[in-house]
């Protein structure tokens, strides 16, 4: 358990709707048995569509909400039984847009939360400087601008700084790059990668596939309150999609070539498209059998083709996501 920053086991959460007096009659089952782990030094992405249960999961792990069933541990501490210890080991960002005093500047807001954490004032100032360098707070003017005048990108940087203020072991970020400008989004991702390299555990939720693929070591897909798949990006792709494409751009010799292509690639599932003077050939093969297609392509070179470029194309994470969440919502 020690090497696991986050362990979630069969978490169930029901939101009762209607007034206090009519409790228990009607409820929304937001989580229906969510389990996953995130190791130290790892960025785990909780990826899923709106309403899948991402925020609910983060709130339970952050001790802000009690699960109805199941258990979870943060850095070895139980989220219900050791609530105080969990709180001392986590840094959280729940929403980019809210959570700060509007009239106070970025620096003043950080001082406020630093004082709450009991960080002495002198140490607090140097910690804020450190975080400013790391996240680029000063660079974009976050420190001396009132919160109400900040752009979304500035707010996100400030929120990340607060999450890191007390130097926690486990960092949880709920949709950290929602609506950010590209520069801020890149900076946030870079900081997240850096945290993992320092040995911290990072959980981030997103419905942005590109972000998940770029920043996460592993991904847990969540849909309708259930984890429908979990693994590294490559693992997920190989489990869920055994077919890859070998794509090559060829410059054909001057003589007639169509017959030659058909003969050489006979037995493969392939397609050919003309792109100006080039031909783009796409050959679909089983994962692990890419070399068979490449050998055929090389044999074409002997016949007078020039191989301009070739690559293996993975199915997009997006394709997986659509397949998985479609499956999930039917459950």
């Amino acid at each position: 358990m020690r090497e696991d920053g986050i362990v979630a086991e069969s978490l169930v959460k029901r939101y009762h709707i209607g007034g206090l007096l009519r409790r228990g009659r009607r409820y929304i089952e937001a989580l229906r048995g969510v389990s996953f782990r995130a190791r130290r030094g790892e960025v785990l992405g909780l990826l899923g569509p709106n309403g899948a249960g991402k925020t609910t999961t983060v709130k339970i792990l952050a001790t802000l909400l009690e699960p109805d069933e199941g258990d979870a541990w943060i850095a070895g501490f139980h989220v219900v039984k050791d609530r105080g210890l969990v709180r001392r080991n986590i840094g959280v960002m729940l929403s980019v847009e809210r959570g700060f005093y509007w009239k106070l500047t970025g620096r003043e807001n950080l001082v406020y939360f630093g004082l709450l954490y009991g960080i002495p004032r002198a140490k607090l100032d140097s910690r804020i400087r450190e975080l400013s360098d790391l996240i680029g707070l000063e660079e974009v003017g976050v420190l001396d601008k009132p919160f109400e005048e900040m752009s979304l990108g500035m707010k996100a940087r400030l929120g990340l700084a607060r999450a890191l203020l007390a130097d926690p072991e486990v960092i949880m970020l709920d949709e950290p790059s929602l609506g950010l400008d590209p520069a801020s989004a890149r900076r946030v991702r870079r900081v997240i990668r850096g945290l993992a390299e320092e040995g911290k555990t990072v959980l981030l939720t997103t419905h942005n596939m590109v972000e998940a693929e770029e920043v996460c070591d592993r991904i847990a897909f969540i849909a309708s309150g259930r984890i429908v798949a979990e693994g590294s990006v490559d693992e997920l792709k190989s489990i869920l999609s055994p077919i890859v494409s070998v794509v090559a751009r060829l410059l054909p010799p001057h003589n007639e070539v169509n017959g030659l292509l058909d003969k050489t690639l006979a037995g493969f599932d392939f397609s050919v498209r003309e792109r100006g003077e080039y031909l783009v050939v796409r050959i679909r093969v089983k994962r692990g059998e890419e070399h068979l297609a490449v050998e055929k392509l090389l044999s074409l070179v002997k016949d007078g083709f020039r191989l301009i470029e070739s690559r293996v194309e993975e199915p997009g994470l997006e394709d997986l996501y659509i397949a998985l969440t479609r499956g999930g919502s039917e459950a």
């Binding site: 802000l64 909400l65 709180r87 959570g99 700060f100 954490y117």
Partner: protein, 271 residues
Amino acid sequence: MRPVASALARQLAAEYYMRFMAFSRAKHLLVTQIMWPYIMVVIIILLGEAYGDIEVYAGNIGVDNPVLFLFTASAVALSSLSAVTYTASSVIWARWLGTLEYVTLAAPSSAVYVAAAGFAGASLTTLTVYASVVPAILYFGGLADLLVLGYLAGLTVLGLATLLAAGIVAGMASVALRLESNVLDFIPPLLVLLSGVFYPVELLPALLEAASRFIPLYYVVEAAKLYSSLSTAPLELAAPIYAAAVLGLVYAALAVPLSLLLERAMLRRGA
């Protein structure tokens, strides 16, 4: 107990810092706070003149120097009301701003947060309200009255601490039960009514008069009356304040289990 005390201290430091910074950026708030007691006294005197002689009012309420009493009573009333409203609304405000979750993560309990945020807000208001009536007290009274006012201010802060319990329960209940801030708006007028700040509670129906004895604020107002009618010795003035403090302790004792209960409700419902 130790961790709770240290959390309370941290929270107070942070709250004072935040309010000081916010105030320094919005100086007009300070001006309105200074104006408040004067506006209230003018309104009451004008109303009094409309319905009869100020001397009659003085007789009714049982004080020698009605203007002096009104200023003192305004200071007591405004600062005490702010204790309850600041405390009760701090948690709603924090939820509205979205700071509640982050504050909760840094502090061990939301009850501690509510108490500290309320006390910081209320004590700063007390300071400005009392400071703002100083010129009026000097003009209508004298230096000796100012000393008693200072003494009363100290007692009010003590009284505030006792009012916090009520504010904590009201604020946390409003969040746990998902009430909105306007539900709390009925509290201040009710407190004004039951405290006897501007007219004697003896004029109220018997049931409400009896209820006033359960409001710590009532005793603080009693002290203010004693002061302006008799130039009473500080020791005698203390008696009603002790009554308020005892009542406050009782409320605090009730507030602790209740706020723990409400905190659990918040955790389950995700307030």
